[in-house]
Subunit: 357 residues, 2 copies
Amino acid sequence: MSELKFSDLVESVAPADKTALRVTVLGGGSFGTAMANTAVRNGCNTMIWIRDEAAAADINTSHINKRYLPDFQLEAGLRATSDLEEAVCNRDIIFVAIPSHSFRSVLEQIKPFITSQAVVSLTKGIEAKTFSFMSDIIREVLPEVPYGVLSGPNLAKEIVAGQPAGTVIASQSEMVRYAVQQALHSALFRVFASDDVNGVELGGALKNIYAVAMGMAAAYGVGENTKSMILTRALAEMSRFAVELGANPLTFLGLSGVGDLFATCSSPLSRNYQVGYALGSGKSLEQATQELGQTAEGINTIVQVKARSEELNVYMPITSALYNVIFEGAPPLSIALSLMKNGHRSDVEFVLPHQQA
Amino acid sequence: MSELKFSDLVESVAPADKTALRVTVLGGGSFGTAMANTAVRNGCNTMIWIRDEAAAADINTSHINKRYLPDFQLEAGLRATSDLEEAVCNRDIIFVAIPSHSFRSVLEQIKPFITSQAVVSLTKGIEAKTFSFMSDIIREVLPEVPYGVLSGPNLAKEIVAGQPAGTVIASQSEMVRYAVQQALHSALFRVFASDDVNGVELGGALKNIYAVAMGMAAAYGVGENTKSMILTRALAEMSRFAVELGANPLTFLGLSGVGDLFATCSSPLSRNYQVGYALGSGKSLEQATQELGQTAEGINTIVQVKARSEELNVYMPITSALYNVIFEGAPPLSIALSLMKNGHRSDVEFVLPHQQA
């Protein structure tokens, strides 16, 4: 990607235009690091909190995140710390880029240091036992803070390579939306605003289900017609489920909806796609997981969303069919049939009234 | 694709359940032929009109459309004719699968034979000189007929190969929607209904613009982040333009919108994608067209939509940037900049109010 010259067309931001926001990213994974680096470039006073003291010290001396972005030189102005109090006190925005299974525990640890900081989730996913989204956890643990969620088709390696990308900041608070745009929006990384927290967050959490389905279909060598139908039936399911939880269906037309779904379903290297491909080739979940060396997030999401959709009485034929294939021995071709089932006569929800065809 | 076994899971339609609709397809291209064959399988009395008498006779004896679907055995019940009066009189549905530049003239030829038939366009595109969509032409030439348009991600070769696919029939007339579903809906070809004629038709007509943009981006080796942004910014432009013409933005969440766009943008073999790739590699339109051996539909669409969007005062930065690259010598990277431009702060139209960012 070294021959790319997008940055040639972009003027650097003049110092006078830079904001002086104080920004912290909690978590030193690839996306958190990419966002912290973007904030430094935007003129923010930026800190990244990494639990491991040696890793934080190494970033401060080498300016490289050797574990997650080993090929990329970080801005010299990015300061890493393993001291949570230092990282959180007296800051404007706390971005939380912590995996969903540790998200709640980190918020509980920072609670004593929170005064008026905004808290913005960079994490996609669902907390396994509670079916909580990251915004739910923020509201539960830190009920007073202004908060938001950031989500979109954002592969960290492409962002640090300077390829044009966009994302969505969703918040009920205009102040949070504006501050996050100030901190992260730049000529090559566009930050759009939305007030639909549920819709934006659900896009990022649910897409993994459909990456499994797309991988399974690929094992059958399906063409563009079928892939397009998976994509649009996935959008119909996602928006149906999301509207039940209070989201705006139009959000799924944007980067955090169809944008992220498109990127995920077009990435044959993703774990979700690969587990789907293995299942579609006739392997069991145990075999597929063993080959991958780890569990794919999408599998857990299928279990959780299937249960929740039944509680809410939301029709999700692809998710149900995937569950039946993975856990109840149904043939993988059931996915194809789930696409063809009657049940809703309009291909877009909320356009024509639902009727049995 | 011969190892596919989707049809193994599908029960054939019992004769008693079959409809007795009388269906004609005008035009013997690959998609018209695929739809005619589908109608025969659905139990319709089906005729296909092909202007060339020898070609029609050949289909009646060989049951193969040698020019457009040479590898596929058609149903024996499909009858071809080159007699337009025979093809149109005393039928229930006339599907028109005639290229946009001849669409009007064929409608004018069948006008004397139209009594109460429904007329359904299978053609995607815009009439060059008038900026008319096919539904506009139907309304102008045959103002009394019930009509509809069919559009979706429907590669004919995949349909005849029996891969699962879906499409959308859009009509103001419930009777037309129902009849087309009866004629074409089957276990492997799902026909959804919509009442948004403008929205469905615009999806099929505008997508070619963005296939050019996607090809141009591919010449720069962009990754998934940028491709996803092109896709979603394209949807924003398309829906903005379409709403101005009276369409429902939610239509773009469906098969005829993002579904067709996804299929088109994922097909590196399409002419539109290839002309974009050539332009992105620094070639002129003349060079690119010469290499392809013919003009790509998307180029004409760019010219037409640019002019129309300016008349309507609709903001379409990708279309404008493509125009500037192709006709005014702007560098192809302008496309990337068009994605990053301010102008609308929400990434989905109609969610947050438009404001300058």
